[in-house]
Symmetry: C2
Subunit: 363 residues, 2 copies
């Protein structure tokens, strides 16, 4: 076994301990006589797994009792539609912050569905090199919610604050930063996340929604997108993505075993500091994101020369540092250093960056 | 390892060869240095997997070139909404056959979305003990499509024929019979199936749709439910359920290796015959489904005594024959004998049935 360091933005690395445990019990789980993949979702063995997964996520994130936790399918992209379909009826209009590609997609999806939605802030003119500062006076008083993308995977930015909007719920896409550090769930109305970055393989979406926000669903909407229906059925209105939920459970268990989100944050800060400190210490590479908006999960940088960027990603790949090419829409490099990326992976990256800079002087 | 025979209606057994292969390469796939679970869906390694999966399914089912194959999320329940959202605009109305619980749900979902849908045939008054005979004159001339559920998991019935409706497309939910035997795809406009019975773990939905039916999507619908968008993006409009697709690929590979759907059908017929022949040979157990509608995948039977039924399922479970309890809405027993159930499993079941009948004489 010759494992590489995989800097993919998602799907992305999983903890080796988790993969090894999954492999060991893949064919036969405990005393069940079958794989978790084969279990009826209504069997006691499987119910224990999904209940444990929820309990562990609640413990990890310190989720208040008046929030439901849903295990769904379809990715954040499905929630781009589900959010307005479930919430906008509260007042009939909603506000969005566009801080990157995915928040832009969420905004467009709500528009496509025919809703009165307004972009109240964007950093598009600055090529999304930071997140906007959103204050209460910028949001419509009768907005059903404000939608933000808390960590912008493609640009490598993250909100250093949570908007304070009084009674207007903040809805946050946390796909690329969930469970990377503690967050005060009670400051949000809804948190959702595709699991394929920090939680599990692709195919699972987590929705954490405050109880009182379950009563605004459109009548004529696909039942599978109704949070209330899913909450009332314990995420089992139909067959959930059982095995992916099991994998998420193993990941939650791993984080709890190392000390929870406080320890996770320490490790992530240490990894990010190593990389950003190096970036700030030299002038061969340039980090386009403004310091106060820097993401701890996705670190973007460029050489300033598109050909060199291309060579960098290619040679890094050959050296066992995979998927460092930036998103196809922005170019450059991006190192996604999620929970499962070990410190040694970032050390190897920085060493490679130094070597590459020496061997490839700029003209 | 002490594997049981798992008669669950879904999620259900997977071939042991497939599970063992998946376990062996879970931590590191080939020369990639990572798990399939960790692969970027846009990486060459993963693209080869999803392309192989599609090519193998096309070969297995002999899918004509003018049909798209989509790998989606959300289960058949999501398609209950997606079908009318993608198709009804063709004429503005659609017809449904209600032959059990899931076809009833599909019909109700279309009604809920506000569409002009009509139930043109049902066997509800016969407690769904057979499927209706549907002829062209029963279907509205200007129906956008006719929706049927080809195999009814809960009741244990299957269409012994394909409705012939001229230009009106037949849309079939094949969740519980897909790739169990050859089927003439060209006789359908759309075939869809949750994968968790015959194909893969839960969390993957297959949609096979004829090209010319991609042009009727509602404008105001969730983008993630648009077949055309998914087709244009090779099922990668967003991150697909990558690992579950990989598992499906292993299952397709396994079926191709044993001789494809002709051989699969032979094996399934042999298993079903063993069980139905026994049921027909005695009068302790009763098979409620009319012979011409019998499913080869889900075999339902009762003792006629609810307490005995309960005892049967419980004792069978202790004997390593799991999940034989009928669906909670109908009671009795149900043996789901999908592709991955070995002949020996059905032999063990029949032996147990004989023993139970001897040991538990009726009053």
């Amino acid at each position: 076994m010759n494992r590489v360091y995989n800097f993919s933005a998602g799907p992305s690395m999983l903890p080796l301990d988790v993969l090894q445990k999954a492999a060991a019990e893949l064919v036969c789980y405990g005393e069940s006589g079958m794989s978790v993949m084969e279990m009826s979702h209504r069997s006691p063995d499987y119910e224990a797994i999904i209940n444990d997964a929820e309990a562990m996520l609640r413990e990890l994130m310190n989720i208040p009792e008046n929030y439901k936790v849903l295990f769904l399918q379809g990715g954040a992209s499905t929630q781009f539609a589900a959010v307005p379909l479930n919430l906008i009826k509260r007042t009939g209009k909603a506000d969005y912050v566009v801080s990157g590609q995915f928040s832009g997609k969420a905004y467009k999806e709500a528009q496509k569905l025919g809703y009165d939605v307004k972009c109240v802030a964007t950093t598009k003119d600055d090529n999304f090199d930071h997140v906007p500062t959103v204050t209460k006076d910028m949001v419509r008083e009768d907005a059903a919610y404000l939608h933000i993308c808390f960590n912008n995977t493609i640009y490598g930015t993250k909100y250093p604050y949570i908007p304070e909007l009084g009674d207007i719920p903040v809805v946050a896409d946390m796909s690329s930063c969930i469970i990377s550090e503690p967050v005060d769930v009670s400051k949000f109305g809804v948190i959702y996340a595709g699991a394929q970055k920090n939680m599990a393989p692709a195919g699972l979406t987590i929705v954490i929604v405050r109880d009182d926000l379950l009563d605004y669903a459109e009548e004529k909407m696909p039942t599978m997108l109704e949070w209330k229906t899913m909450a009332e059925n314990g995420s089992m209105y139909n067959t959930p993505p059982c095995y992916t939920i099991y994998m998420a459970k193993l990941v939650y268990e791993w984080i709890l075993s190392i000390g929870g989100l406080e320890e996770m944050k320490k490790r992530n800060e240490k990894k990010a500091a190593l990389l950003y400190d190096y970036l700030d210490s030299q002038d061969y590479y340039f980090a386009p994101v403004k310091k106060e908006s820097r993401s701890m999960m996705n670190v973007t940088f460029v050489t300033g020369d598109a050909d060199l960027d291309k060579k960098f990603a290619s040679e890094a790949g050959k050296a066992g540092l995979k998927n460092l090419k930036g998103h196809r829409s922005v170019g450059g490099m991006r190192a996604s250093i999620y929970n499962a990326m070990p410190y040694e992976g970032v050390e190897a990256l920085v060493a490679f960056m130094k070597k590459f800079a020496e061997e490839n002087p700029k003209a």
